[in-house]
Symmetry: C2
Subunit: 493 residues, 2 copies
C-alpha cells in the first residue's frame, strides 16, 4: 500500500510544484510585475493551470485514489491526504479541463481590469469580465450541484464545508437582530469620541516601519516571511517557510495600515504554524476560509483593538508619530479604534458593522449566482443594500461594488466566511480566556504565548481537521454563534 | 506540415511556461524570498525543472522534430525554431533526466551557499558545492563531447557557438599583447587623475533615484520592465514585456551602481527589442551570451563612459550630489570613469583591465573542467593568476574567487563571452559610426536613435541569426578582434 502511496506522491509533488508556481505568479502580479506584462504572463499562467489540472485529474490518480481510499495500512496523514484528494478530485474532475484553463486565463485578465476600473472609478471597465466570471461559476456549479442544492450552495460549501444558504440565512438573521439595536445605541455615544487624530497626515515611511515592527511583535517571523505592498492587503503562502503578506498605506489614515498589518500577520502566523509534516501536501493549508479568517480577525479585533494589547506598545506608536498623537491618550486611542460608525468600505469598517458589509455581499452573490440578475444593475443593487443595512449610500463605484478584489479573482461565496470567522474567533476566545489570563499576557507583551496556544490548538493541524471539528475539539462544543453576539454586546453595550 | 507544427507548439508552450516559472523563482530568490524558504522552494524548482525537461525530451517531440527538420513548408520562424530545438534536444537528451534534476536542485542550494560564503568570506562554505558542480559539468560534458573536443570546448561552445579553446587561446593572447603595454603607459598617467570624489559618501536613496532615471534615459522601458536590488546585478527575462534588472548599491562608491545600471539596462533593452513574433518561443532570447554582453557593454563602456554621453546629463548628476561633485568638472569625471587601474573586482574594473580579469577565470575554468585540479587549491590558483596578469593579489576570497555568482549557478564557460562581447561591441561601434554621427546624437541626448539602430540591426532578430551571422550582416565582415584592439589603443594611448 505504501508503494501505491509513493506512486501517488509523484503526482502530488507535481501538483504542489505547479500550484506553488501559480501562487508565485499571483504574488508577483500583485507586487512587482510591470503593467505591460499582463497578456503574455496570462498565457504562461493559463498553461501552468492546465498542467496543474492534469497533474491531479488523470486516470492513474483516479485509480490510485480508488485503491487507497479508506485503506487501513495508511498512516493518519496519508489517510487525510487521500480523503482530501478524493474531494478535490471530484470537484476538479467535474469541470472540463479546457473550461478550467479558460477560466484561469479570464481571472488573470479580470484582476487587471478590476484594478483599472477601481482606479478610474468606472464599473463598465470591469463589468464585461464580471459577467463572464459569473457565467463560468454558474456553469461550474451546475456541473457539481447535488440534489436539493442551489448553485450558490455549491460555492458556499467550497469555502466553508457544511455551510449552506439555509445556515447562513439563519446566521445572518441572528446577527442582524443583535447588531441593529446596538448600532442605534452607538450613534448616541459616537459624538463624544474625537477620532480626528486618525485622519491627520502620517508619513508613509514611518507607517511602514511601525507596521514591520508590529507584525513581528505579534509573531510574524521575518526569517520565514516577506512583507510587501499591494493594492489590496492579502496573504500568500508558498509553503510554511515562505509566507508573504501585503499591505496598502494611506497618508491620511493611520488605522488602515496598522490593522491590515495585524490582520494579514494573523493569516501568516496560521500558515507558519502548520506542521512541518503537512506543508507542501494537499492538507498543508488552513482548515477552512472561515477558520483562517477567525485567526486574522482574532489578532486584528479581539486582541488588536483591546486596551491590554496597546498598553505596553502605545508609547512606541506615540513616539513614532509624536506630532499627531502626542496629545492623544491611550483611552482616546482605544475609543477611536473601537468606534462603531457605518461606512462604505468593508476593510475600513469596525467590528460592529462588519457583518452588515458581508450581508450586502451575501445578498448580491445570491442574486448573481442563483438568478439572472443583469450585471449592469449590480452597482444599484449594491448601493440600495448599503442604504438599507448601513444607512449610507456609495456615491462612487470605487467606494461601492468595486472595492473588493474577490470577484475579480473568481471567488464567489467567499465573503460569508469572513462573518463565520468572526463568530469562530469569539467562541475560541471564550475558551482561551478560561485557560489563561489573556489580559495579563497582553499587558506583559507576551504575544508568543497567544501564538503558542493557537498553534497547538489550531494551526499545527492544517487541514487534518475540518473547521467544525476544530471548533468542537478546542471549545468542547459545536459551533455556536451566540458567543459572537455576547462578545459584541459586551463590547458595545 | 502546419498541423505537425501545431502539435509541436503544444510542447513548446509547456516548455516555455515551465521555464518562465523557473525564471520567476530565480528572480524571486534573488530579490524577495525569505532566508528560510530555500530548502522547500528548491524542491519546487527541482520538480519544475524535471517537468520542463520532459516537456521537451519525450518521444513525441523527437518524432515531430524528425518529421519537421529541414521541411520546406515551414515559414522562416518555424524553420529557425525547429533548427534551434533540434540542437537543444540533442544537448538535453544527452543528459539523464534524474541527473539533470539533481543538478538543478544542487544549483538552487549552491547559490545560497555561495552568497553565505561570500558574506562570511569563507571559501570552505562554498567549496563542497563547487566540487559537486564541477563533477556534474564534467560528467555532462563527457556525455556530449564530440571527436577532437575537450570537455571545456563543449561548455565554451554552449555559450558562444563556434568558439573553442583554440580560438580563445589565440584571442586572449592577442589581447594580452596589446593590453600589457597599454597598462604600463597608464600607470604613468594615473597619478595625475584625482578620483577621490568617487569614494565619498553617496546617499543610497539618491543613487537609486538617479539610477532609475538613467535607466529610462538610455531606453529601458518602465511599462515593460522592473528594477530591483540583488546581491549581484543581473537581468532576468520572463518575456519581451517583462524584463527585470537588479542592481547593488554601495554608499562609498558612486560609479559601481551607475555603470551596473547602464550595463543591465543594455541587456534589458536587447530583450525588450526582440520581435513580438519571437518572444516566448525557443528563439526569443539574445543571439548568444557574447552578443548579449556586447550590447550591455556597448551601453556601459563605449557610450556610457564617453564625454558626449555625459555632456547633457552630468549637470543632473552634479545636482543630485552637489556636495560631493560640485567642484568636480566634467573633464575630471570623464577622466575618473575611464581611469585604468588594476584591481581585484571584475565588475568594478575598467575597460582596459577587464579582459585580464576574464583571462584569470578562463585559465581557472580550463583547470577545473579539463583536469583534476583540487577544489581547495583553486583560491591559490586564482590569487596567483591575479598577481601574474594584474599585479595585484586578493587578501580575501570574498574579493577573490568568491566574487562572481556564475559558478554557483552552474555556469562554466560563460566568462569568455564577456571578453568576446567587448570585441563584438567595438566592431559594431566601428560600423555604427560610419552610418551616423554618434557623438552628436549623444550630445543631443537622443538615445532612442541608438536604441533604434541596435534594435533594427541586432535586437529584433532574437536567435534567428547566430552571433557570427549578425556580425557579418551588420558590419559586412567576419568577427574581427582587431577593432577592439584599435578601440583600446585609441582610447588609452
Amino acid at each position: 500500500m505504501n508503494q501505491k502511496f509513493e506512486q501517488l506522491q509523484t503526482h502530488l509533488d507535481r501538483f504542489m510544484a505547479l500550484n506553488t508556481a501559480i501562487t508565485l505568479f499571483d504574488w508577483d502580479s500583485d507586487t512587482t510585475a510591470p503593467p505591460a506584462a499582463t497578456e503574455r504572463t496570462a498565457k504562461v499562467k493559463g498553461i501552468l493551470a492546465n498542467e496543474a489540472y492534469h497533474a491531479l485529474v488523470n486516470p492513474e490518480v483516479e485509480q490510485l485514489l480508488n485503491e487507497l481510499k479508506g485503506h487501513k495500512d495508511l498512516d493518519e496523514i496519508q489517510t487525510a491526504i487521500v480523503k482530501q484528494l478524493c474531494e478535490d478530485f471530484e470537484k476538479t474532475a467535474a469541470i472540463p479541463a479546457k473550461e478550467n484553463q479558460e477560466f484561469k486565463e479570464l481571472v488573470s485578465h479580470s484582476i487587471c481590469a478590476w484594478a483599472r476600473a477601481k482606479k478610474e472609478d468606472d464599473f463598465s471597465v470591469f463589468a464585461p469580465y464580471l459577467e463572464k466570471l459569473i457565467a463560468y461559476q454558474k456553469k461550474f456549479a451546475d456541473y457539481r450541484k447535488k440534489e436539493g442544492q442551489t448553485r450558490y450552495d455549491v460555492l458556499l460549501n467550497d469555502f466553508e464545508k457544511g455551510f449552506f444558504i439555509e445556515d447562513l440565512d439563519r446566521f445572518f438573521d441572528k446577527i442582524k437582530q443583535a447588531v441593529v439595536p446596538l448600532l442605534k445605541e452607538q450613534k448616541a455615544k459616537e459624538k463624544g469620541i474625537d477620532k480626528s487624530y486618525n485622519f491627520l497626515c502620517y508619513d508613509i515611511e514611518k507607517q511602514k516601519e511601525f507596521c514591520a515592527w508590529i507584525s513581528e511583535y505579534i509573531g510574524f517571523e521575518r526569517e520565514r516571511g516577506v512583507r510587501s505592498e499591494g493594492e489590496h492587503p492579502c496573504t500568500t503562502n508558498l509553503h510554511r517557510d515562505d509566507v508573504r503578506i501585503t499591505n496598502h498605506f494611506y497618508e491620511n489614515n493611520l488605522e488602515s495600515a496598522i490593522f491590515s498589518e495585524i490582520h494579514e500577520s494573523g493569516h501568516g502566523i496560521y500558515e507558519m504554524g502548520i506542521s512541518e509534516k503537512l506543508s507542501q501536501t494537499p492538507i498543508g493549508g488552513g482548515a477552512s476560509c472561515g477558520m483562517h479568517e477567525s485567526q486574522s480577525r482574532f489578532y486584528e479585533n479581539v486582541i488588536g483593538r483591546s486596551k491590554a494589547f496597546w498598553k505596553p506598545i502605545y508609547g512606541k506608536l506615540q513616539e513614532t508619530f509624536s506630532e499627531q498623537l502626542g496629545e492623544v491618550s491611550l483611552e482616546q486611542f482605544i475609543a477611536g479604534i473601537n468606534l462603531a460608525k457605518p461606512g462604505l468600505i468593508r476593510t475600513e469598517s469596525d467590528e460592529l458593522t462588519y457583518c452588515l458589509h458581508i450581508m450586502v455581499r451575501y445578498e448580491v452573490e445570491k442574486k448573481m449566482i442563483n438568478s439572472d440578475y443583469p450585471v449592469e444593475k449590480l452597482p444599484e443593487l449594491w448601493n440600495d443594500l448599503y442604504e438599507e443595512y448601513l444607512g449610507v449610500r456609495p456615491q462612487k463605484d470605487s467606494e461601492g461594488i468595486l472595492q473588493d478584489i474577490h470577484w475579480a479573482t473568481g471567488d464567489f461565496g467567499y465573503f460569508p466566511s469572513y462573518a463565520i470567522g468572526n463568530a469562530f474567533a469569539a467562541q475560541i476566545y471564550h475558551t482561551m480566556k478560561q485557560q489563561m489570563d489573556v489580559e495579563a499576557i497582553l499587558e506583559a507583551g507576551e504575544l508568543d504565548k497567544i501564538k503558542q496556544w493557537l498553534g497547538e490548538q489550531i494551526h499545527q493541524y492544517g487541514m487534518m481537521k475540518s473547521a467544525r471539528e476544530i471548533m468542537k475539539d478546542v471549545t468542547g462544543e459545536e459551533f455556536n454563534p451566540d458567543y459572537y453576539i455576547q462578545y459584541l454586546e459586551k463590547k458595545y453595550k
